[in-house]
């Protein structure tokens, strides 16, 4: 079949491109690689850099805008509105009335199974995105706030890795509550460099288990992290 034209070429995995762009950009935003208020590269530049069509970049930006992470102005550019220490936003009301222990309980219910689902569902690109976040986490030495943010991003990627919109929505509530907890309870005080190192080890093991598609191992690491959190919780006050 002497097809005259075949522009798409389809070298990359289909169906994962937009999500890949979203994950890449949202990670960069969360890690402040694109700082708050900063202008991010033009759509055309991003398209070239990421090796996708502008259309695809646009769709990703649409969703980031819907999430409230960026704001776009025609003729001017796209700007980061995401605020890491977002004092601003009213988190969902449930977040504020959820106690640290209650948060821990729900995490204990969701996360082990969430990892299982993610493992059997994540695409290579999604795992790649996860590894990017992991390496940034490993680079953290003392900045507890940054570490917490990266943890959230890591968990968010896991949730999206399940491909289950309902589960993702539930876990977004969990993350809201978690953010709230960190704001009020000031765990950060207890996130010493030593503890950060412990967590880094845990996340590293978790990621390796995920990359190896070792379901039980990963679920076990997830539980360990939860137990560690619990210990931190009890030390408080």
């Amino acid at each position: 079949m002497p097809n005259s034209t075949l522009p798409p070429a389809t070298t990359s995995l289909p169906g994962a491109t937009v999500k890949y762009v979203i994950e890449t950009l949202s990670t960069r935003i969360v890690t402040q690689e694109y700082a708050t208020e900063e202008r991010l590269p033009s759509e055309r530049q991003l398209a070239q850099e990421l090796g996708v069509a502008r259309n695809t970049v646009r769709e990703a930006l649409d969703q980031l805008e819907a999430r409230g992470m960026i704001r776009r102005r025609a003729g001017s550019g796209s700007f980061v509105t995401y605020d890491p220490d977002g004092q601003g936003e009213a988190l969902s009301p449930v977040a504020s009335e959820t106690g640290p222990l209650q948060l821990q309980v729900v995490r204990g219910i969701l996360e082990p199974d969430m990892v299982r689902l993610a493992i059997v569902n994540m695409s290579p690109k999604q795992i790649e995105a996860l590894s990017v976040v992991l390496s940034k986490m490993e680079a953290v030495q003392t900045d507890a706030a940054a570490f917490v943010r990266l943890e959230e991003e890591f968990h968010r990627l896991l949730a999206e890795g399940t491909g289950n919109p309902l589960l993702i929505a539930c876990y977004n509530l969990v993350l809201d509550a978690r953010r709230q907890s960190f704001r009020t309870a000031m765990y950060r005080r207890y996130l010493t460099p030593t503890r950060i190192a412990i967590y880094q080890q845990g996340y590293n093991g978790l990621f390796n288990a995920i990359a190896a598609r070792d379901i039980e191992e990963a679920s076990e690491f997830m539980k360990l992290a939860l137990i560690e959190d619990q210990r931190l919780l009890l030390q408080e006050d």
Copy 2:
């Protein structure tokens, strides 16, 4: 036509095309020109009829789907979900994009632990409220819709019985998705009086276990109910 390139042509007013398609289609839906549950023309047909590109039709359909007026199934078609006698409040958007299987997965994660928490947390009054709903359920003979509503109420009371606001919020999402499932997938057809009797037995056992504060027994009953739902799901076609 020897012209090398001029795809857009731009015969119609620019910037109003998508809106025009949305208005046209949503009007047809609201006026029941495309009746509820009916399949509307394929995207390619609509594109031709309205004189726009398929992409434009898709974008319009995206928004109609976001509004909950239609639902799309790859390989099958787009179907009107809008109900003119809409009791139907706007369900949370996640509800519409959650499939029956994904719903079942999340329920399988949450419900067994939810029962455990409820048992150790419910006050006598709350258990009393539960028994009231149960007796109403047992009075149902053939009205599948009523039974489904009572089931929801039963589950809601359980969730509230945990006293965990975060868990309650998560489970509300689950219930939204469940309601959506019943609307679209028409399980009701399979909820014969015989099946209702089976469920009644299950809920009765579940309640007794709860009243007796028998955690393992209750969790077991909960799982059984889930399995029963699953069977019902698989029979669907």
